[in-house]
Amino acid sequence: MDDRELELQNQELQQQLRQLQQEKTRLLQLEQDVIGYVRTKIDQLLKIMGTLPLRPEELDDETLLALDPIGIIAESFSQVLDHLKETNDDLVVARDELKAIFDATGAAILVLDSTQKLHSCNPMAVRRFAIDASSAQGRSLDECIPDCHALLSKHFLDDLAACREGKLSLEMCFGDYCYSLVATPVRDSNDQVSFYVLIFSDITELKKTEASLVDAETRLTEILNTMMAGILIIDPETHCIVDVNYMAAQMIGDEPEKIIGSVCHRYICPSSAGQCPLTDLNQVIDNSDRILINNQGDKIPILKTATVIELNGKPFILESFIDIQARKLAEQALRESEQRYRSLYTAMKEGVAIGELVYDDHGVACDYRLHDVNRAFAEMLETSTAELVDRRASEFYGTVPPYIHVLDEVVKYGVPREYELPLPQLEKVFHISVSRPEKDRFACIVNDVTASKKAQQEIERLAYYDTLTGLPNRVLIKDRLQQAIAQAQRSRALVGVLALDLDHFKKINDSLGIGCGDQMLKLVSQRLKGHLRQGDSVARMGGDEFVILITGIKSQNDIVSAAGKILDLLAEPVTIDGHDLVSTGSLGISVYPTDADEVDLLLKHADTAMYQAKETGRNLYQFYSPDMNERAFERLFLDSDLHRALERNELELYFQPQIDMVQGHIVGAEALLRWNHVSKGQISPVVFIPLAEESDLILDIGRWVMEEACRHARRWYDQGHTELRVAVNLSARQFRSDLPDIVARVLRETKLPAHLLELELTESLLMERPELARTILNKLRTLGSHLSIDDFGTGYSSLSYLKHFPIDRLKIDRSFVKDLNVDPDDAIIVEAIIALAHGLRLNVVAEGVETADQLEFMRQRGCDEIQGFVVARPMPADEFERYLQESRRKTG
């Protein structure tokens, strides 16, 4: 190789070397630039990562590259980016979530921008605030919300704009809703407000609930404080009272503030301190009588109820109590009262039963069951209480119980009733008072009235019936007459009132004894009763007086026939103690409505008529006539005056001459009694003798008559009328066994020869007791007196008897004499009597001869003596004396 070549080579090499050196410098510069660049970028990255720049002394270039900080940071950034991406995804989800909430939330949300223009709103806000969503964005609230000021006042919005931190809240109402508004400014990173979020939560229901809760609480408080029970709320742990109502405070007597905080035992159930039924004895409820001690220390009985309640999640004891002091006292009183009534109920003599009705399928009461009876009730029914209680009444009666309808009415209407219940099986009568003590029950108070009932009947019998005859008495017959009048008034009928008096009944009593008389009355009663027509009545008015009512008749003739029948009935003889007796009667008749139209008057008139019948002649009837009344009235007061007539010398004898038909001179005189009444003048014996015969007065009068007659006769005897006979009438009452002694004494005292005294007897007097009559007559005859039969022909004498009596004379009754010229029968009777008397060798005297014809008749028929007006009227003793002297002078 050459140098040139070499040179060339060297030059070339030199060139290359320079080039290389230049390249090296450039490369070194480049390396420095790259490393500088890397460090800058690393620092830049580190700064991004938040740390300090990498100092060269900390890491040389080589280590720097080896460490690969850019790689590390790049790698880390990759992770940061991943994380950012994840975060971004999460934010998207979150945003969607928020959007969904925003749209769906029940709250209305307005979002305002910093100038308080509407930025957005959710659908609820659109609805509630009537926002036009399409054009609302970016507009002021005034423009997009109607009546905006009611929703958001300017004041509020100004406050909101001024709000530096936190949020504003407000409760308000808009439209029909109430809202709780929370307004929050949203600030950007520079703390500048970018948005205001206004959230309107609907609290309408809440407000309503709140209001009703307030109402409820007010109500409860009001109730709590006005109720009449005391109420305490007690903490179960401490037993401290935490609340008290008004009534409890009243009962305790302290202010509620003083009571609250006290231990409950201080006031209630102090005796059982430490024995709280709820907290100590584990009871769920305590309901018992307790004592309340008030602030005065008084012990008040209460009824307490304690139970556990939960208030705000915490248990409390609720104690309520009422004052039962009054109730306790009432209970005590009730117990005592019950005890009293129970012992009364048990011991009372009245039977008491409480029962209940049993109804059939149709609801009709058909039976009853007794729930309770007292001892007296069972004893009355002659059984035990066990036999009666809870048994059906039909078991006792064997059929539907009596008076069930009454019980039914009492149970239905509650009006008490009474009734009488006869129980023939027990021979008892009960008086039952039924009442309704409670609904559907009846109570009976039972009195055994068997005895009083019998007594009552007996009393009624005594009150309304005559004990001797069993006939109705005066009281009852008056009642019947009253009814008969009422009946007759309706049917325009007559009622006959017949007063009946037995003739000569007193004679029976006097001569045969009262027993015999009573028997007579009974027999007469039976006879009358046995022959009464249906509807007629007979009553005994007392003594021998009867009244017969004849009803349902149309004419007086019916009464006549009834009266006739009664007289016939009586005329049949009766046999008593072996005596055949004839008891005629006299009837007085009054007629409704002719004589009177009231009970007492009818009876009085009938009575008057009856006396008239008696006076007229017995055994006949007499209708009432008004003029009888006067006489009846006289009778009444004469009766009392008569008793004094003897003492006052008011009685006087008149004498009526008896003329011998053959001789024509005076053979005797009948002594006739007169009563010179001090004010009434002279009174006929027909009037007053029957009165005297009613009593023993007739005996005194009879004796006076006999003495007086004999005294006069003796004086006339002394004056020379030695054959003048004086005739004295004897009353039936005088015709007793002592009559002969009396006559003998009178004759003795007056010194009148016995044959100058003639005793006149009636034929019935002889016939009624013939044996006694004969004995007496025989004795009188022995004395020497004459005996005559007065009123002959009117009685029922058995003519054949006459011969058994020592009779001297018959006196023909004036009634025959009176009608001699008009009634041929009477003439025949008089002829027969005269013939008969003469046949029996008796003298005949005709009484009541008043006319010359009658005198002639008697003369022709051979009548022995006459007496009457045709000869002379009866005259006083002194006049008769003159008449005697006159007569003697005439006849010489």
Binding site: L46, M49, G50, L52, L54, I72, E75, S76, H83, T87
Partner: protein, 78 residues
């Protein structure tokens, strides 16, 4: 879960941060899965600010405690 501990005492920021990031990058798979956690021991005070700031941006959780003069920076995912 395993705990990977490494000591970078003596290093100051930023190298402490780079070291920590390097380790996180190396174990990012396991860390993200929650299979492990890293505990870095450092005596650099700045690192207790820089490391948590960086790793939180990367999506990890960090807590810091102090133990015998060193800071324990625990890095984990939830």
């Amino acid at each position: 879960m395993k705990t990977i501990e490494f000591d970078i005492c003596g290093q100051i920021c930023p190298s402490a941060l780079l070291t920590a990031l390097k380790e996180i990058n190396r174990h990012k798979g396991q860390l993200k899965q929650g299979e492990c956690e890293l505990v870095i021991l450092t005596d650099a005070r700045d690192a207790t600010r820089t490391i948590p700031s960086a790793v939180e941006n990367m999506g990890y959780q960090v807590d810091i405690s102090k133990k015998s003069g060193c800071y324990l920076i625990r890095i984990f995912t939830r």
